[in-house]
Subunit: 671 residues, 2 copies
């Protein structure tokens, strides 16, 4: 129900993208635009030729269904005749289990009358179909796709999204709709973080106490896991499971305390943070347990790669256990890092014994780590480069932590092969496989997780797919907005969740004034939220901070306008837009404040709402000064900056993102 008509002045028109900037994300490797367009009507039909891959057949059905969603036109889903509008040609089979580096290229040629999509195998076909769907837009003549020729393939072979279901469990529907979103932006690895201190989320038939004592009833059955793997495969997505060990594993110990280095008893942790419990690397029984467990899980997950976590051991349980200290002395293990290295080395042999390649976070990398182990870097580009130099393959997640409420532009400009990565030689660079967006789940439930993943992950997907030189942030934001709308058709709730949550917290079906506030505030960046308030696994995530997008689009666009004004480049219309926005915010507290007290969830917003109003008033005065070429006096300016400084501090765990733009205006009007 956002917002007022003024939004339209800034809003993206889905049909506004033409020739020079097609609504594609990720941008293809090679694209050549023609003239004219292909009109879609009820007679549009698709035939699949060449190698008969079930993924192509099902992909065609899903394609037609999504095309219906995009147009409302019921296309014929039955067997098409030979005069089909669109011909899919699949040259050959794909691997039974998708392989890292398998050919994903495709060729898509759209003329005014015909579409040809050719690919070496089903993977390329699936990608090409998604490209076509992104190109569909409404025109005066009907829904259409522009005439275009595309030759495309990815820059990196490993383009992932990790979802942590250990901290907050996510139902199957959430996983599936996010796999749909991944397919839409050509991500190809779903990294399923299945266990952590707070929860163990998968059924083990060998060790049923893992889920019985470790999940609070929220876990996936093995049938459900198979369902997800099949669903992902149909979309050209690999599924890599992660079982974090030896730390981040308290939930295992609830059922099997003998695995731990402490004396127990253990319960799944109900707080967030880093905790002491760690597996006991000194007992053979630990490795016997793990071998059996890994045998069960490696049989369930067909992907050749298997993630064993390995991050963030504080070593305190080891320090406190005399048997561990004794073991270290006997084996000449000098410190806890070396002990973990010993543990990882043993686990690596077990993983290899089950014919899988081990993957782990930075910490698994030690001088003697086998060369085939894949390192996922949460620490940063240096750790990534170090792994590649040492001969290991690696992928980057540092910079792609989508749980930290960073703007899309920040993620977008992180490149695995720039900065430290640029110092690598060709051979080393080839070991950088790509990257993964990581969705840690301390502060998400099934209600708002989509909004933390989308649309920003589309920007990361572009970084990992498109040529290195594709780095225009404005273009990225413009295209991301269009792709974000299309993701609605996949059932993703990143655009719809805010209104639903605002209605609930206010008890008001039309909470317009609350929407005005919600549109310009953000959760604090990084880990600041935990410093502002105490949270546990039982904390309701139903407040305004949970209901707003991690990046305020309104604030971002207002900042563009304010920057234009300050630079003396704004048109008359843009001046007026800035004024209209500021007046809206100035007057909003008057409308909102009276109702805030009606709900326990909105009461706390009173200072934030009042502050927004004050900030806007300051902004309006500065705007007047700028307009009339008056110089704000130093005293007034300092007073205003003081007010803005206070206004910039989090309130109700939220940051007012208009403040920096108003500060721009104030500083300009004082000089």
């Amino acid at each position: 129900m956002l917002l007022l008509a003024v939004v339209a002045l800034l809003g993206p028109a889905l049909c506004a993208q033409h020739a020079s900037s097609l609504p594609l994300m990720p941008l293809p490797a090679h694209l050549s635009e023609g003239n004219g367009k292909l009109l879609l009507n009820g007679g549009f039909s698709v035939v699949a030729e060449g190698y008969a891959d079930p993924r192509v057949a099902e992909g065609r059905e899903r394609f037609l269904n999504k095309l219906w969603r995009e147009t409302g036109i019921p296309f014929q889903t039955g067997a098409p005749d030979s005069s089909a509008t669109m011909v899919i040609k699949t040259a050959g089979p794909s691997q039974q289990v998708e392989q890292l580096g398998e050919d994903e290229s495709y060729h898509l040629a759209v003329t005014a009358a015909h579409v040809e999509l050719t690919a070496a195998n089903a993977l390329g076909v699936l990608h090409g179909l998604q490209t076509f769907l992104q190109l569909v837009h409404i025109t005066p003549e009907g829904f259409a796709v522009p005439v275009v020729t595309i030759d495309d393939q990815p820059r990196f072979p490993w383009r992932g999204l990790m979802i942590d279901v250990g901290r907050h469990f996510m139902p199957l529907t959430v996983i599936k709709r996010n796999l749909d979103g991944m397919e839409a932006v050509k991500l190809n690895v779903f990294h399923w973080h299945l266990s952590d201190d707070q929860g163990f989320r998968i059924e083990s038939k060998q060790f049923p106490l893992l889920q019985e004592k470790g999940s609070n009833g929220h876990y996936y059955t093995q049938d459900e896991v198979r369902e997800v793997i099949a669903y992902a495969r149909m979309r050209g997505i690999r599924v890599v499971p992660e079982f974090d060990m030896p730390c981040h594993a308290t939930s295992w110990f609830a059922g099997y305390p003998e695995l731990a280095s402490g004396s127990g008893p253990y319960q799944p942790i109900t707080k967030w943070g880093i905790f002491d419990p760690a597996m006991d690397p000194t007992r053979e029984s630990t490795f016997q347990f793990l071998d059996k467990f890994l045998g069960e899980m490696t049989a369930l997950f067909p992907d050749p790669y298997f993630h064993i976590g390995g991050d963030e051991c504080d070593g305190k349980e080891w320090d406190a256990n005399p048997r561990v200290k004794q073991f270290m002395r006997e084996h000449n293990i000098k410190d806890n890092a070396a002990l973990q290295s010993y543990f990882s080395g043993r686990v690596e042999k077990l993983v290899a014994g089950h014919n899988k390649i081990m993957e782990g976070w930075d910490e698994v990398l030690q001088p003697d780590t086998p060369r085939d182990v894949v390192v996922q870097s949460w620490r940063g580009p240096k750790a990534l480069a170090a792994a590649a130099r040492q001969g290991n393959r690696a992928l980057l997640s540092n910079g792609y932590y989508i749980d930290l409420n960073q703007p899309a532009s920040e993620h977008y400009l992180v490149d695995p092969l720039l900065g430290e990565g640029a110092t690598l030689d060709a051979q080393q660079r080839a070991r950088v496989l790509g990257g993964e967006a990581t969705m840690w789940s301390e502060f998400v439930t099934e209600e708002n997780i989509d909004s933390r993943i989308w649309p920003r992950t589309a920007a990361i997907a572009e970084r990992l797919w498109s040529p290195e030189e594709v780095r225009d942030v404005d273009s990225m934001y413009r295209r991301m907005a269009l792709v974000s709308e299309k993701l609605n058709d996949d059932g993703l709730e990143h655009n719809s969740f805010t209104l639903a949550m605002l209605q609930r917290m206010s008890g008001n079906a039309n909470p317009e004034a609350l929407e005005v506030l919600a549109a310009v505030v953000q959760p604090p960046k990084g880990y600041a939220r935990e410093e502002l308030k105490q949270y546990t696994v039982f904390s309701p995530l139903n407040e305004l901070v949970d209901a707003v997008a991690p990046e305020s689009e309104t604030a971002r666009r207002f900042n563009q306008l304010a920057t234009m004004v300050v630079a003396g480049k704004a048109t008359g219309e843009q001046w007026q837009e800035v004024r209209t926005w500021l007046e809206l915010w100035r007057d909003n507290d008057l409308k909102l404040a009276p109702s805030l007290k009606d709900s326990t969830l909105t009461q706390q917003l009173a200072p934030l709402s009042r502050s927004l109003s004050e900030v806007a008033s300051v902004g309006l005065k500065a705007l007047d000064d700028l307009k009339l070429h008056r110089t704000m006096s130093a005293a007034v300016r300092d007073q205003n900056l003081e007010l803005l400084k206070a206004a910039g501090k989090p309130k109700a765990v939220l940051v007012d993102k208009i403040v920096p733009s108003v500060e721009l205006l104030v500083r300009a009007s004082g000089s």
Copy 2:
């Protein structure tokens, strides 16, 4: 993204309902309100005592999950301890297959610290849980339920919703979310209209050509049907299948032309209307086929009732077939009605032979129709009463045709036992089982079907559940608005579909001006749509007429305001509201018109948009006159009424619902 802040002035506040008017729909039979409230917090827990029914156990889990959706508070779903906040007491078992007239009563007592829900069986428990969920609302202290004691049971035992999946197939997800909606308003019969001229929608293993030739690939497998039946049972809902015969059956004949009275060949019909093909009642092979088919289907559907349709035979294929004429002469069958009666009688015996009770539309009722046959009346109260007088049981659907775009108030005031029904004696009245809302699907797809069913079907549900004297239309609308919001939590899309469709048709993510127009127009009532434009099963239903609600809430409320103004009872604020709305509409065309030409789907809206603007201008002039106690001259008045008459005619298959209110103003200002 509706609309402007002015909406808030008229919008319902979810928390505004207190004491005298609880947000319940249907209203309970007996309710007594206390003081205070029960606060819901993370410690809220529920225990089920007494008879251990799996429907209660699963109902409790679903209840806690929906309570989470309503509050965002993660309640404990595991086994509760003995000090639970809420105690459910189930006295005994329910029937293995739900029976018509089975006890559905419950007792719900909420105090500030405790909740007790008692019922004879699982059905009452399920109803009581839904009542509790409707009572949840936000307060300054937190989410709460008011202190209240409720003793409740339904007025009628048969409270249904029919969905026609023959004309437009509906995926399983649509069926399931609508079953959730039915549970929320205590409807207890899902009538599944599974076949019609345009489609045969269920897998037959005995006669696979039915679905292979008759469904265009869109049908339910028997496993899916079992899934729906189990899903419905968990929600206290019976599933009654309908296979329409001997007419509305062309889709059967595509695979089995020998069933028909004509010479064929047949294809599923691709238009809407009444068609000639009819089963051949003269051949024994027809009844042998039906017996085998009914054997298969009666085994699949456990409900004791089985609907064989029987409506709308035009008899033309019979008239044209000499063998049929010959048969009629030989058997002394005087006309086609009698021939259909013969057919229905034969089918009734087959149905009875499979231990089911036959149900059919009005036409199945003949003097010799067995007394246990249930008659569903599409013709009206007289036909209903006639059936009851004749000794048959009957239910009403006439008046509950939710596909005809009538306002909720019209459906609401239709009562099976008023009017003609009031002339029945007690024994006859007892044969009136209730009624069913009927969702015929010529003009719905999975995108907009929810909006045709909800929230208006909640008003029909109240008619069928609540005491006869519950008839306050204003109260109904107030409560229906609140229930409508809660239905979002069941995944129903009746509130969210409009924006999605407007975005698609305009290619604009923020189509505010189009939303303003959409909020005040409606599809024409009754069958007028088909007279305005030609439609087939291939017609895209993606235009504005498909995207707007069947009843404009904005227009309904504006009409209330205009009525107040005309009656001289409006407050200053209400005068201002009327003005604000009219100014919004007057100015809207200027904003909307330029973008309409960008899309093939909005081009046709230009006259409608312009007309709304003109109507609003007329309204504003009339309002000025009324305000200043000026009398509009007869000439001006007539000119304005002429304009309104033209504006009242459908444009782009849509009716401007502001016109009658402006006419009120004009007539008042001219007198």
